[in-house]
């Protein structure tokens, strides 16, 4: 696989890294300068001396000119929402895939196809009716209102179904003879075998949840429930007012960190899982 050592791969990789990393670098550097530097239109490439004050301003109070929610609150909201969405999606799709694969009941395939069809109906398409339902249920301005409409996942159900289909039917039969009921089999055999898939899906779904913009913007007016992605865009004012770019950039950097942490931590974990389990 390894050919003669050549510089080309490194060069290409370097260019790629540069293209992806440079905007982030600008943001990180920008978050350490004072408001006037960036206000003048300068794009500094070296760190400034106002990092601590920018980050503490963002963390505690948001940008001064506009009274925004502190980043600390928004981060907690986003984290809670993303974790609930990811965990909820996994729980629901695991159980529905289990039902579709391991049980024989009338209209089983119809149920599966109904789930499958919802792939074509993401939140953005059904946003008005969904909003109406949430209003009728009096779930606006609540964490439940943020999470529940996003919690069913056809994609994850499909993925788990495909994985469950690869589990040899003899395991089910051996479990039947051992005397394990359906829930026992789920807990003792299916769940441990699915760990790597769950870990991989969690990463994807966490980031999906974290990046939600349109739905949180619509369903939540209460600023104490604001998520960081929505809050960040609200910091950027329109009209004459000067934006406090230094604080906004500090907030943006903080908004980046949790998804990055999840990717880094979970990646290690599921690679470990991939190496250790085998059918």
């Amino acid at each position: 696989m390894l050919e003669k050592r050549s510089l080309w791969p490194y060069l290409w990789l370097g260019i790629g890294v540069l293209i992806f990393a440079f905007p982030i670098y600008i943001t990180v550097i920008g978050s350490t300068h004072d408001i006037s530097t960036i206000g003048r239109g300068d794009v500094p490439l070296l760190p400034g001396g106002h990092g601590v004050e920018n980050y503490s301003a963002a963390w505690a109070g948001g940008a001064g000119r506009f009274t925004t929610t502190p980043a600390a609150v928004m981060l907690v909201n986003s984290l809670l929402m993303a974790v609930l969405i990811a965990a909820g999606k996994i729980a629901i799709s695991l159980t529905s895939a289990y039902a579709v694969v391991f049980f024989r009941f009338p209209f089983r395939m119809l149920a599966f196809w109904l789930i499958f069809i919802t792939l074509m109906l993401p939140v953005e398409v059904r946003i008005i009716p969904t909003f109406q339902v949430m209003v009728n249920l009096d779930m606006t301005n609540s964490m439940a209102g943020l999470v529940v409409p996003l919690i069913a996942s056809a994609t994850a159900t499909l993925l788990f179904r495909q994985f469950f289909l690869t589990i040899p039917p003899e395991y089910v039969e051996a479990a039947k003879i051992d005397g394990a009921g359906p829930m026992r089999f789920f807990k003792d055999v299916v769940l441990p075998l699915s760990v790597t898939n769950i870990a991989a899906l969690f990463v994807i779904l966490f980031i999906y949840g974290w990046n939600q913009y349109l739905w949180p913007l619509l369903i939540v007016n209460d600023r104490s429930l604001e998520t960081i992605v929505v809050g960040l865009t609200k910091m950027i004012g329109t009209g004459d007012a000067q934006n406090e770019w230094n604080v906004i950039m500090a907030t943006a950097v903080m908004a980046l960190l949790p998804p990055v942490a999840v990717v880094v931590l979970m990646q290690r974990w599921f690679i470990k899982g991939l190496v250790e389990t085998e059918k």
């Binding site: 003899e170 051996a174 039947k176 003879i177 051992d178 005397g179 075998l193 389990t277």
Partner: protein, 347 residues
């Protein structure tokens, strides 16, 4: 330890009839081997006894208790699967203990039973390993161990040796037989391998197209096959079949040879004569084979030849005794089997 009674079991998948009424009575501690070509329904029968399939009609009784409607777990049977079906994320110990754990046995009891079974199978040193760290033979032993710890009424084996290499298969075959004798557990063993069937079974069930063609001891089946299917299936190389017609109380072969084999049949009745390759003797005055192929096996050589009328005949003779392109063989009358040409049944 228990008796097993299978009565009138049929199975239908949609419009396909897989089993056409199987009756089988197994006495306590007996090892029954169900043998047949693929698709004959032998695995289905085993799965019905296990409770993994339901019989369309008929009943299953274990130790005189009707279990036809019971779940597999309630039947107190243990099964060894072809691919072993060991849970990959559990250690050998956990795999063996799982059934006991579900039945709510105490940890000390579980440990004792697993240790005992592991000792019997000589896998004590493997208890902390995972299935993927084991060789095929070791996995096989663990699968056996998982069945033994439960101390079930019935052992069910679903072609457990077919994933092993030839040498290991012979060793494990002997071991299974020894264990089964020692534990005295009534067992059903499904296989397509006739050598396995002959060596393992106290009695064999030869299945053919969803019916039990013959149920008897291995030697009885070998020496008195019930029909041409059983005769051709058991024994290697297969029995030779020669078409003939009854003539004045004897059988006239197509080659013209008249054999004084008596059968209570009218003249002109068509029959099939069967003779095993090892029973053919070299000599003149019988049949003349045009030799096509020699397969030396060491002390013996298998000769594939053809008669004048094109019938293939196989003979097993001492090596070095084939003179040339032709071989004369005689058919000892006491080794001949006569079957009805139409029904294939033994006469």
């Amino acid at each position: 330890m228990a008796t097993l009674n299978v009565a009138g079991v049929t199975k239908r998948f949609g419009t396909t009839q897989v089993l056409h009424g199987i009756d089988l009575d197994v006495t306590d501690g007996e090892m029954i081997v169900i043998v047949g070509a693929s698709g004959c329904g032998k695995s289905t029968l085993l799965r019905i006894v296990a409770g993994l399939e339901t019989a369309t009609t008929g009943s299953i009784r274990i130790e005189e208790r009707d279990v036809t409607a019971l779940e597999p777990a309630e039947r107190d049977v243990a099964m060894v699967f072809q691919n072993y079906a060991l849970y990959p994320h559990m250690t050998v110990f956990q795999n063996m203990a799982y059934g006991l754990k579900i039945r709510g046995r105490s940890p000390e009891d579980i440990r004792r039973r697993v240790a005992e079974a592991a000792g019997m199978l000589e896998i004590q040193h493997l208890l902390e390993r995972r299935p993927r760290q084991l060789s095929g033979g070791q996995r096989q032993r663990v699968a056996m161990g998982r069945a033994i710890v439960r101390d079930p009424k019935l052992f069910l084996f679903d072609e457990p040796l077919s994933n092993l290499d030839a040498k290991l298969r012979v060793t494990m075959r002997a071991e299974i037989k020894r264990l089964q004798r020692r534990l005295g557990v009534t067992s059903l063993f499904v296989t397509h391998d006739q050598v396995e069937a002959m060596t393992l079974g106290d009695r064999l069930v030869v299945m053919h197209q969803g019916r039990a063609a013959q149920i008897a001891t291995p030697m009885e089946i070998w020496s008195h096959p019930a029909d041409t299917y059983v005769a051709g299936f058991i024994g290697s190389p297969s029995m030779n079949f020669l078409p003939g017609v009854m003539e004045a109380g004897a059988v006239r072969l197509e080659t013209g040879l008249l054999l004084p084999v008596s059968a209570p049949l009218a003249d002109g009745h068509k029959v099939t004569l069967g003779i095993r390759p090892e029973h053919l003797l070299i000599g003149n005055g019988g049949l003349t084979l045009a030799v096509e192929l020699l397969e030396p096996l060491g002390g013996e050589t298998v000769v594939h030849g053809k008669l004048d009328n094109g019938t293939t005949v196989v003979a097993k003779v001492p090596t070095g005794s084939v003179p040339g392109d032709t071989l004369g063989v005689i058919l000892p009358l006491d080794k001949l089997h006569i079957f009805d040409a139409e029904s294939g049944l033994r006469l």
